[in-house]
Symmetry: C2
Subunit: 385 residues, 2 copies
C-alpha cells in the first residue's frame, strides 16, 4: 500500500467514524470518565455546557460532591483516594439523575440507573479479572411458571465445557428487589470471584445459577401487561402469590431445568441457596420451606422476623437437632451500617436462642454490592466442603 | 398458618420491600413506563416534580415530543400508534438526556445511553419471544491480542447442549462504533431471531459469535489506562494499528478459541462474517483480507470506498471469476434514509461494474437497529445453504 492509498483509506476511515459517532453522541468532544488515577483518586467528567449545577453521587461518598465546569462545558471532579472496590455512581445534572454517558459499565436494575466504577487494588482484588482459567456465563431460557418463559444466568466453572462427565454442585443465588438476573454477574462479578477462588484452590468448582426474583412481573410483561403498579404489594393475596410464585419457579422449574441441562449433582448436599436483600428473604423462605432440597444456606443482608420463624417455619426452631443435622451451613451476614442491621442481628439472636448452628459475619458498611461481593467470596469458600 | 400470622408476615414483607425500595428509588411513587397500549400507542412517563420541560426522543419520532406534567410531578405523553418493532428512546429533562429509570431494557453502548421499547406485532415478530425451542447465549473469556482477555458473546442453537457430536457452521457478527459485544444480543435480539427462524425451518442451526469491535480500547482498559481520547483516530499509526488489531483478534484469537471450545465446523464454507456500521467495514476488510477464511459476507449499512477496493483489495475486482468462486454470498444492505446510503450505493455500483456477484437490499429507514434486525433475519436464511 503506497502513502497515497494509506492517506486515502485513513481519510475515509476517519470520516466514517466521525459520521457514526455523530449519530451516537451529537453533543461534542469526547469525555473520558471515570478516569482512575494511579493514586486511587478518580476523576469523573460530564459534558453539559448548559447545566447550572452538576453533582457526583456515589457509594464511595458520604454525600454528593459539586463538580466544576471548564471553559467548554465539561464538568469534572476528582475524589478519593477511594478504597479499591466496584462502586455504583451517578451524576445529578440540575437535579436530574443520570448515568455516566462515557462509561459502558452499568448496574442492571429495574429502577435504579447507575454506572459502575472499578478502583483496582495494588494486588488484584478477588473480583478482578486475573490471568487464571475462566469459566463462562450463559443466559438460558427455561419453561417457567404459568406458561411464561424464564431467563436465568448460569456460571459454569473453568473446564466445564471440556470435561465430558464431571458433575458439579450448584449454588442458586438470588439478587435483591428491583435487581435482575444479571446483577450478580454484572455488579457482583460472581463469575470472576469464583474463577479466582477456584484457581487458588479455595473454592470447589461449582455451577452458580442466578434466577430472576420476581416472576410475577415477568408473567405480566409476557402477557403484554405492564408490571402491576403495586408491584410491591399492598394487597394480601397478591403478596402471598408473589412470594409463592418465586419459590415454585425455583423449586419446580429452575432446578429441574438446570439438573436436566447441566452436569449438576442432583441431591440436597450438592445444592446451596443464597441471596441478597429480598433475595436473602427468598433464600430463607425457600430453604426453610424445602428442607429436603438444600443443605447450604447463605443469607446476605436479610432476615426473617420471629413471628414468621415461630409461625410458618416453626419446625426450624422446634427441633434444633434435626435442623442442625439437615443443614451443613446456615450463614447470615450484614453490614453494620445496613438499614437492616438491627433486624438481622435479632434474627441471629433468634437462631442462637434456639441453638440453631449458624455462621455470621458483620462487616463495615451498608446495604451495598460491595458487601455482597465480600459475602459471596467468603461463603463460596465454605460450600460443598 | 392462621390469619394473624399471615397478617404479621405480610406486614413484615411489605415493610421490608418498602425499605429496600426506598434505597433503590428514593424519589416517590412508582411510575410505569413505557406502557404499550392495545392500539400500539405507547405511554411514556417520567417522575420529575422539579423539572421545567421534559421531552421524549425516540427513533419512532421525527422530532422530540414535549411531555405533560400531572399534579404530583409525573410527566407523560402517549404517542403512536407505532409500527411494531424495538426502538431506542430517552428523555430530555431540562435539556439533560436520561434513560427511562422505570425500564430495565437498555441499549449497551459506550456513549449512547438509551432505553428500549418493544412494540409487539399482532402476530409475533421475528425477534419476539415465541413458544419455540430456545438456544442460549454465553459470555466467554478468551486469550486476546497483546495478552489481554477478550469477551465474546456466543449464541448456540436449540439442542446444542444435548447433541453430543453434531457440529455447526459459525456466523461471526460484529456490532458498530461504540456498540459492545452485547449489542447484537440485547438490541439485535439475534438469539431470538435465530430461534424463530430455526423453528420455522427457514435458517440452518448455527452458532453466532459476537465479538467486541475495539480491542485497542480493551487493552488500554486492562492496562489500567483510560481509553485514548482520540479513540477514533487522528493519528495514522494508531488508526492502522486499531483496524489491524481487530482483524488479528478475530482471525488469530476468536476463531481458534471458538473452534477449540465449540462444536464448530472449522472450514471456510462453514464460516460467515457480518457486521453493522463500523462492524460492516470490519467485515469487508477482514473478509477481503482473508479470502481463505470466509465464504459468506454480510455487510449491513456500510461499504468500502473505491480507492480502498482498488488499493488494498484490488484482488477482489481484478479477478471477478476467482472472487465469485470463492464467495457463496456477498450481501450489502442499507436504509434509504441512512446517512451512509449514498456511499453504500456507490459501493454496490463498484461491485456491479466489476461483475462481482452480490445480493443487495435497500429498506426504508435509517442507520438503525430496527434495520439491523431485518438484515440479520434476511441473511440468516441464506447462510450455509
Amino acid at each position: 500500500m503506497n502513502r497515497k492509498t494509506i492517506a486515502g483509506v485513513l481519510f475515509i476511515w476517519i470520516m466514517l467514524c466521525i459520521s457514526v459517532v455523530a449519530w451516537a453522541q451529537p453533543r461534542g468532544p469526547f469525555v473520558i470518565s471515570p478516569q482512575v488515577n494511579a493514586d486511587k483518586t478518580v476523576t469523573f467528567r460530564y459534558l453539559a455546557p448548559l447545566a447550572k449545577v452538576v453533582k457526583l453521587s456515589g457509594q464511595f461518598l458520604k454525600s454528593p460532591v459539586e463538580m466544576t465546569r471548564d471553559s467548554i462545558g465539561i464538568w469534572s471532579t476528582t475524589v478519593g483516594p477511594i478504597t479499591p472496590d466496584i462502586y455504583p455512581y451517578s451524576f445529578q445534572v440540575d437535579g436530574v439523575t443520570v448515568m455516566d454517558p462515557a462509561n459502558v459499565a452499568y448496574f442492571p436494575n429495574e429502577r435504579l440507573k447507575a454506572s459502575l466504577v472499578d478502583v483496582p487494588g495494588d494486588t488484584p482484588l478477588i473480583h478482578a479479572m486475573r490471568d487464571v482459567p475462566h469459566g463462562n456465563v450463559t443466559y438460558e431460557y427455561y419453561p417457567s411458571v404459568e406458561g411464561s418463559t424464564g431467563t436465568v444466568v448460569v456460571y459454569t466453572p473453568p473446564g466445564y465445557n471440556k470435561a465430558s462427565s464431571t458433575k458439579y454442585p450448584v449454588f442458586y443465588l438470588i439478587s435483591g428487589t428491583t435487581d435482575t438476573e444479571e446483577t450478580f454477574f454484572k455488579v457482583g462479578r460472581t463469575n470472576l470471584i469464583l474463577d479466582n477462588l477456584i484457581a487458588e484452590g479455595k473454592a470447589k468448582p461449582m455451577i452458580v445459577v442466578m434466577p430472576y426474583g420476581n416472576p410475577m412481573a415477568r408473567i405480566a410483561e409476557q402477557q403484554g401487561k405492564s408490571k402491576p403498579a403495586d408491584q410491591f404489594g399492598r394487597d394480601s393475596e397478591d403478596a402471598i402469590k408473589r412470594a409463592k410464585l418465586f419459590e415454585t419457579d425455583l423449586v419446580n422449574h429452575v432446578i429441574p431445568y438446570i439438573e436436566k441441562n447441566y452436569r449438576a449433582i442432583p441431591n440436597k448436599d450438592n445444592r446451596a441457596i443464597g441471596g441478597f436483600s429480598r433475595g436473602g428473604g427468598q433464600t430463607l423462605r425457600t430453604a426453610f420451606g424445602n428442607m429436603d432440597k438444600f443443605s447450604w444456606i447463605c443469607c446476605y443482608s436479610a432476615y426473617l422476623f420471629t413471628p414468621e420463624m415461630e409461625g410458618t417455619f416453626k419446625h426450624i426452631g422446634e427441633n434444633p437437632e434435626a435442623t442442625n443435622k439437615q443443614l451443613k451451613l446456615l450463614w447470615v451476614s450484614v453490614g453494620d451500617e445496613d438499614f437492616l442491621y438491627k433486624s438481622t442481628v435479632e434474627f441471629l439472636d433468634y437462631l442462637k436462642s434456639k441453638n440453631i448452628n449458624h455462621k455470621s459475619l458483620i462487616t463495615p458498611g451498608g446495604h451495598t454490592w460491595m458487601n455482597v461481593k465480600t459475602y459471596v467470596a467468603e461463603t463460596a469458600q465454605l460450600l460443598f466442603k
